[in-house]
Amino acid sequence: MAFDDQSDVSDEVLLRAYGRGDRVAARVLTERHAQRVWRHARHVLGDASEADDVAQEAMLRLWKIAPEWRAGEAKVSTWLFQVTSNLCTDRLRKRREVGLDVVAEQPSGDVDAVTSLEQSARLTALNRALDELPERQRQAIALRHLDGLSNPEVGEVMGISIEAVESLTSRARRMLRETLGKRKAELGFGDV
């Protein structure tokens, strides 16, 4: 299977091809999904090296399940998000058990120094506020507002109804608005 000819091939077909030994199919699937998986892990965990581990583990589980993948059972992207979310939840629980307080890292970008400092402060504050949320709310917020999934997609990943998703995100948003509101001025939001 040539790498360049895969744009019209579905994830499911590629995964089954990989299950039969087609390594090019795995490269295409990596190209399509690894970035999103990694970014979701980063959004939830706020730590690059943990996100790397989770992303690699999630993709490894996909490779392992490929020979047994049944057509029409689930979307590959949804399945990957489910696995990634579960792996992130496990890590968050371990962190809390151990009492680890992870300071979220911020990626560097091509912005001027002032904007960069302000942006860095905002993102650090948001990460800390996200860290205070219950796990399910954090997961729902990350999937919906950081990874850009729709409410039905979030429901599919988390195994809950759309109404449950809306309830989780609504409560999470309220909590974040209150937590971050105390630092409104330093985050660069003026009084109305």
Partner: protein, 116 residues
């Protein structure tokens, strides 16, 4: 009463957009490791030669191949004709030029068997 100590929905969405945009790109080294995992598993799944088959399994496998089966049958018939030919088979050797070596061999085998 105004919510001065609370972010507006718009302000919160702005934070989400900032964080989403600052997500960064997956490191190339991680992509390489993911692909390497896939390659390793794919290699592990390729069928290997199994040297643990029993002798009977090996012999059976020969007769599953049509040409070898034909060869086997031909060899069996050849041995049968050579050792105990049916009487209606014509001996193509010219008269008086029998294969002394073969007959001598066969006679000596008979002699050994008779002696016990």
């Amino acid at each position: 009463m105004s919510d001065e100590k609370i972010l507006t929905e718009t302000e919160l969405d702005a934070l989400f957009r900032d964080m989403s945009a600052a997500g960064g790109d997956i490191p190339d080294s991680l992509v390489s490791r993911i692909v390497a995992d896939a390659d390793t598993l794919a290699l592990d799944r390729q069928p290997k030669m199994d040297f643990g088959l029993s002798l009977s399994d090996h012999i059976k496998s020969w007769f599953q191949i049509p040409r070898l089966a034909t060869l086997g049958i031909a060899a069996t018939i050849g041995l049968w004709v050579g050792y105990a030919p049916p009487s209606n088979i014509v001996d193509f050797y010219p008269l008086g030029q029998e294969s002394i070596t073969v007959n001598d061999f066969l006679f000596s085998i008979d002699a050994i068997l008779e002696e016990g």
